[in-house]
């Protein structure tokens, strides 16, 4: 009895991985072995980079039952200011990018925590503001270029290291630190968390600052890769990050079932799909069909419904 229960638990815990693995296997076969080649490593790394780092930050918010839809608009603004700073001195791009991002995150946090505005509304509103702001900051130019030398700082190795660090730090923070546990507690029952001495507002603001700071970090890496800041706001990437976390099995209501691995599994699944389907030259309309079906299918198979009385 006990044994079979334990077995069922391992299977349930393994399921999310099975989703990712089957996506990889199917694409590997469909592409005739072209997916997992050494040349593709860097492609995959670049595809997964924004997704996974963004998702790693987002999962903290989603554990609280919040989300940040202004991350990419934040990235665009941070990017513009970082490029302007880099024109003075390329090294300034890092502190300015992350600083601006964190600052915007703090504004989100204060509006959400102190003014009690739902995070969805807060960050949609902010992304309107920021989208306007980018173009205003760019003075109606489409883009501004950063110093050319920054392009040479970019390397796949650096990205792999950063990815690994973010994953490791994120995992430890989420599963083993006070911050992660507080986030889950807030998602589970905010009032009970407050009455257990959790400074709910502070935790929320800090988490928004983290997603903001991460946007700033991503802005810096975007400059390394593109050498430029443009007025475009990557709305699709924003929603892909959200989809990645959902695909990994985190529910938007958050709470104690949230797992950090969702960020990693979900973003890798998305990245493998993106790269694999291009390699297989799948028609773009069909690609979207497959994405939609996979999102629903994988979540159906792997969603952890234990302890959730009513699914939201």
């Amino acid at each position: 009895m006990k044994n079979s229960g334990a077995k069922a638990k391992t299977i349930k815990n393994g399921l999310p991985f099975i989703g990712l693995i089957s996506v990889i296997v199917i694409l590997e076969i469909a592409s005739g072995g072209q997916l997992l080649t050494s040349r593709n490593i860097s492609t995959l790394v670049n595809e997964v980079f924004v997704l996974m780092i963004g998702a790693s930050a987002m999962v903290f918010l989603m554990a609280q039952g919040n989300l940040d839809l202004s991350m990419m608009a934040n990235l665009a603004v941070s990017c513009v200011l970082a490029v302007k700073a880099a024109q003075v001195n390329p090294l300034l791009a890092i502190p300015v990018g992350i600083g601006v991002g964190t600052g915007i995150g703090a504004v989100n946090g204060v509006i959400n925590a102190k003014c009690k505005i739902d995070s969805f509304i807060t960050t949609i509103g902010m992304s309107f503001v920021l989208t306007g702001l980018v173009t205003i900051l760019l003075d109606n130019q489409g883009s501004i270029a950063g110093p050319m030398e920054m392009l040479s700082w970019n390397s796949t190795e650096l990205r792999i290291v950063v990815l690994a660090c973010v994953a490791a730090v994120g995992y430890i923070l989420f599963e083993y630190s006070k911050l992660g546990k507080y986030c889950k507690a807030i998602g589970s029952c905010e009032e009970a968390a407050r009455q257990s001495g959790v400074n709910v507002d502070k935790v929320k603001i800090i988490t928004f600052m983290i997603t903001g700071g991460i946007s700033g970090l991503l802005a810096f890496f975007s400059i390394l890769r593109t050498g430029t800041a443009t007025s475009s706001v990557a709305t699709n990437t924003m929603f892909n990050i959200l989809i990645a976390v959902l695909l990994g099995g985190v529910s938007i209501t958050g709470g104690s079932t949230s797992k950090f691995r969702a960020a990693i599994l979900g973003s890798f699944t998305m990245a493998f799909l993106a790269v694999g389907m291009t390699i297989c030259n799948v028609d773009t309309t069909i690609q979207q069909l497959i994405r939609g079906a996979i999102l629903i299918g994988i979540v159906y198979l792997t969603y952890d419904r234990r302890g959730i009385a009513i699914i939201k």
């Binding site: 949609i124 306007g132 529910s251 938007i252 979207q288 069909l289 979540v299």
Partner: protein, 323 residues
Amino acid sequence: MRRNILIRIGYILIIPLLLMAIFTLASTGFSFASSYIVLSQTMLPLVMAFGVSFTFVVGIFEMSVGAQVILSAVVGGILCRYLGFPGLVIGAVGTGLLCGAAMGAVYRFLKIPTMVISLGMLMLFEVIAQALTKGSGYVSLESEISSMGTPPYNFVIAGIAGVLFYIIFHKTKFGHGIRALGCNDYVAVNLGLNNNKLKFKTYLIGGMFYGIAGILSICYAGSISAKMDLGSLSMMFPPIISVLIGLQLKNIVNVFPVTILIGAYSVTVLASGMIAVGLPAPMQDFVTGIFMLVVMIISTNSAKLGKLFDRRKLLNRLNKAAE
């Protein structure tokens, strides 16, 4: 009592009146006379907002609003070629209902979070609309039929939708059910409400309103284009803002369709007004965002502000007592 109601009505009209006053003063062309046009523009987001409010109130995350409206309009437009206006109505509303039923069925049988359903189904709906418009990318109507999207017909259609909405939301067992479920679904289910059935119906009825919105949308301009790559997402923002404002105002006057109308109207006035004062596009985004945040902050915290006021009064009284 009667006076009280008049004051309340005045209170909920503050936002649109204030916006109109500002824009009338700030621009040459915009005036209170423009309100008829603005009202006509409001009908589409309004009917979408009717659909959104059900999902919103019951606690479902719904992002496929735009995709459902587009798909309904596309199917309606195609059927219209064969059956005329009735074809449009049957096609659009039928498709809306089907979309809703599909989402409801996914919720009921696959038991996955509503956010996942909305994003996954959004992608599928976009693909279907895309496939149906293959060739031209859009569906257009003959101009006699598309005149149904202009006043006074659009007022009639939206009016019917509004009455329907009022009855369903305020006056039916279903409306009572979803409001109960929205408060606390765990307790509501404990009290015997059937969560799955109610959520299924919520999706279904939402879909019906998106179908009606589909009619307005294709008639309004005579054509509708399919969107891919989550391109339909942005259509959900005006109705959502409208519902949010509507929900806040509903605490003052408890007639939801009217307060949503005021919300939708405010959003439209803002958009037209900004064009009238010649704001460049980036500034328009900026102001829209700020407006949305400020309205939400003030309305959400007005009770708290009121309390602060009471607190001051109480303090004064205490001080006096101390003296």
